[in-house]
């Protein structure tokens, strides 16, 4: 991995950590003052964590470091990951509207397809069986109400 392709990723990473720290500092300004003088109030600990995060982000940005091997992901992997997250978000939006029995099989079917499974029989059988299994386990056996 060349220096040129490594540094931007490290800067973005450090920038995100610093941004998070700055956001916390900003939020902490609105917290109430300490109840007892000399004793830290609710803003102290978030402020401390935020300062430490900003300090760590500076070290992350400045230190020489190698891109971890795990960070590399091919284009197809990014698409599958994005697709999977959107599919799960869609499931969570639909769950209260259509219920778990109707929402779970499409969730599993879509995720299996994104993972590379192409056999229609496996896609249908496993997703339907999973919906039934969840219903049996949580609703029938454990008595836990699901949407």
């Amino acid at each position: 991995m060349s220096e040129g392709s490594r540094r931007p990723a490290a800067f973005v990473e450090a920038g995100l950590v610093a941004l998070l720290g700055a956001g916390v500092l900003l939020d902490a300004r609105a917290y109430p003052a300490p109840l007892i003088e000399g004793v830290p109030g609710p803003a102290f600990f978030p402020g401390l964590v935020a300062f430490l995060l900003i300090g760590c982000s500076a070290v992350l940005a400045l230190r020489p470091s190698r891109e971890p091997a795990s960070a590399r992901m091919e284009g197809g992997g990014v698409l599958r990951l994005g697709g999977a997250v959107l599919w799960v978000a869609g499931f969570l939006l639909m769950l209260p509207l259509i219920g778990h029995l109707a929402a779970l099989p499409p969730l599993i079917l879509g995720l299996m397809w994104l993972s590379g499974e192409r056999s229609p029989w496996i896609l249908i059988a496993v997703s339907l069986a999973f919906g039934g299994f969840v219903h049996l386990l949580f609703v029938v056996t454990l008595g836990v109400p699901l949407p």
């Binding site: 990473e13 998070l20 916390v24 939020d27 902490a28 917290y31 109430p32 109840l35 007892i36 000399g38 004793v39 830290p40 109030g41 609710p42 102290f44 600990f45 978030p46 964590v49 430490l52 995060l53 760590c56 992350l60 230190r63 470091s65 971890p68 795990s70 960070a71 992901m73 197809g76 992997g77 990014v78 599958r80 990951l81 999977a84 997250v85 799960v88 978000a89 499931f91 969570l92 769950l95 209260p96 778990h100 779970l104 969730l107 599993i108 995720l111 299996m112 993972s115 590379g116 499974e117 496993v126 999973f130 969840v134 386990l137 949580f138 454990l142 836990v144 109400p145 699901l146 949407p147």
Partner: protein
């Protein structure tokens, strides 16, 4: 002795036996399937334990933990791929024995060593929990603050190869704990003006997201396949004489696992590698290690199972989880309303003794499930990740929802899953973040309480010898990686 007999009677009740047996089956499965682990197995079962009574719920979880440490060796021996990281050292000699046509013998050695290690770890837990709990009863806010800082320091340094990323991870966990209402004043913090975040992000959605969904997203994005053949798994099981000859490696491995397992943050992976290395060091034929030496399986397998009981010592006595799996177990205790700490031995003695006995029964079930099911397990672990991982996501989302009946928890689990996936990709260990969330309240609340009691004087942390020692250890732990690299640089330059 009477208490232990009562604990044994409790563990042997039908519902508890069923929980222990179910836990053994699930644990071997979770340990054996590459991509899952004891931590993922525990995270997945966490929502199911919600509907159980505390005793069977916790017995099921310890049984999963124990069996998963053994389960990892199945794939390590069968195909040379550790089912979970603590079985890494087992691949060195286990897979070599399989290639030599001695897979059955290797499985038998692994199982016997795991059982022995599990028993030693349990005995260590029984011996250490009472005295440590009694010592910890004297703890006040300064000592608890120092203990929390020590827990954070040791974990941030020991987990992962990059200490800075470990520290950032722990800070992110502390940030996650801050979200919600301040315990002492009730002021909303980092809630973004919404009521959804007033209750906080919660430990369980984080555990499910980090350890189950993140792993599943990794599988979905990577199109990973388990290449598993069943060739060469047959072979004669070891003779009793063969096992008896290994008593020294098993004892050494168990002792190493027991000591390392009790240190928060060290964990079973380190213990098993240290045990393998130590065994090679003391061997008269070190050159045979890595080529199918039985002692090279016995020592690491004894070590990783001894870690299970040992990791429960800081968890139950002090509320400090010694590993990621122990952190999920802490989630299980929290769900059941059981508060670990010095008072656990006095307030919930019957539960503690049931857990002691449960560990022994779990070891027996692990032996049975492991021995009878070897041919089956080898087939089961070949279940394709493209089928398995979507099921993990589905059960995780439903599981996150059922704990509080709150759909927001499922969203939080998805959020943590995505964050966890990205952190893993960028080389950030997840365990420090979980520990940050767990130890954050201990650190902040006790810091503020101690200062309120001392009218704002920081000398309160230096007046107590326990607090002073713990803070000193935390400072050493923080400084150790930098000192080590300085020393290495110095030697390199000389």
């Amino acid at each position: 002795m009477t208490e232990f007999a009562q604990g044994l009677a409790t563990a042997l009740q039908p519902a508890n036996l069923a929980a222990l047996l179910g836990g053994s089956v699930l644990g071997v499965f979770a340990g054996a399937v590459p991509g899952l682990s004891s931590t993922v197995g525990l995270a997945l079962v966490l929502p199911v334990t919600f509907a159980l009574e505390p005793t069977p719920a916790l017995l099921m979880m310890i049984s999963i933990y124990m069996a998963a440490e053994y389960g990892g060796s199945i794939t390590a021996i069968a195909i040379g791929v550790p089912g979970s990281s603590p079985a890494l050292a087992t691949t060195f000699d286990g897979y070599a024995m399989t290639r030599r046509g001695e897979a059955g013998r290797a499985f038998g050695i692994s199982l016997f060593a795991s059982m022995s290690g599990g028993i030693v770890g349990t005995l260590l837990l029984v011996a250490a929990l009472g005295p440590l709990s009694r010592a910890a009863i004297a703890f006040g806010p300064p000592e608890y603050f120092a203990l929390g800082v020590f827990g954070l320091a040791i974990v941030a340094n020991l987990v992962g190869t990059d200490p800075l990323k470990g520290i950032v991870s722990a800070l992110l966990g502390l940030l996650a704990f801050i979200v919600g209402l301040d315990v002492l004043t009730g002021a909303p913090r980092l809630t973004l003006g919404t009521t959804v975040l007033m209750d906080g992000l919660g430990l369980v959605p984080m555990l499910i997201g980090f350890f189950a969904i993140a792993e599943a997203l990794n599988g979905v994005s990577g199109h990973r396949e388990n290449v598993l053949g069943t060739e060469g798994i047959r072979g004669a099981l070891p003779a009793f004489r063969d096992l008896f000859r290994l008593w020294r490696p098993i004892l050494r491995g168990s002792a190493i696992g027991g000591i390392i397992g009790a240190i928060p943050g060290a964990g079973a992976t380190i213990a098993s590698i240290v045990a393998w290395n130590e065994e090679r060091r003391v061997s008269r034929t070190p050159e045979r290690f890595g080529t199918g030496e039985p002692a090279g399986i016995a020592a690491p397998e004894a070590a990783n199972n001894a870690c299970v009981g040992a990791a429960m010592i800081p968890l139950l006595a002090l509320g400090i989880p010694g590993s990621a799996s122990a952190a999920v177990l802490l989630g299980g205790l929290t769900v059941q309303g059981v508060a670990p700490g010095p008072l656990l031995m006095t307030e919930q003695a019957s539960l503690v003794y049931a857990l002691y006995a449960g560990f022994i029964v779990a070891v027996v079930f692990m032996l049975g499930v492991g021995r009878l099911g070897i041919p089956l397990w080898v087939r089961v672990v070949s279940l394709r990740p493209r089928i398995l991982m979507p099921l993990v996501v589905g059960i995780s989302l439903i599981g996150a929802f059922v704990l509080r009946g709150n759909l927001a928890d499922a969203w939080f689990a998805l959020f943590f899953g995505l964050v966890g996936f990205l952190m893993l990709r960028r080389g950030y260990p997840l365990a420090p973040a979980v520990l940050g969330l767990i130890l954050g309240p201990m650190v902040e609340t006790n810091y503020r309480r101690a200062l309120a009691l001392s009218s704002g004087s920081h000398t309160v942390f230096l007046e107590s010898p326990i607090s002073l020692v713990l803070i000193g250890l935390a400072v050493i732990s923080f400084a150790a990686p930098a000192l080590r690299s300085r020393l290495r640089l110095g030697r390199g330059g000389a």
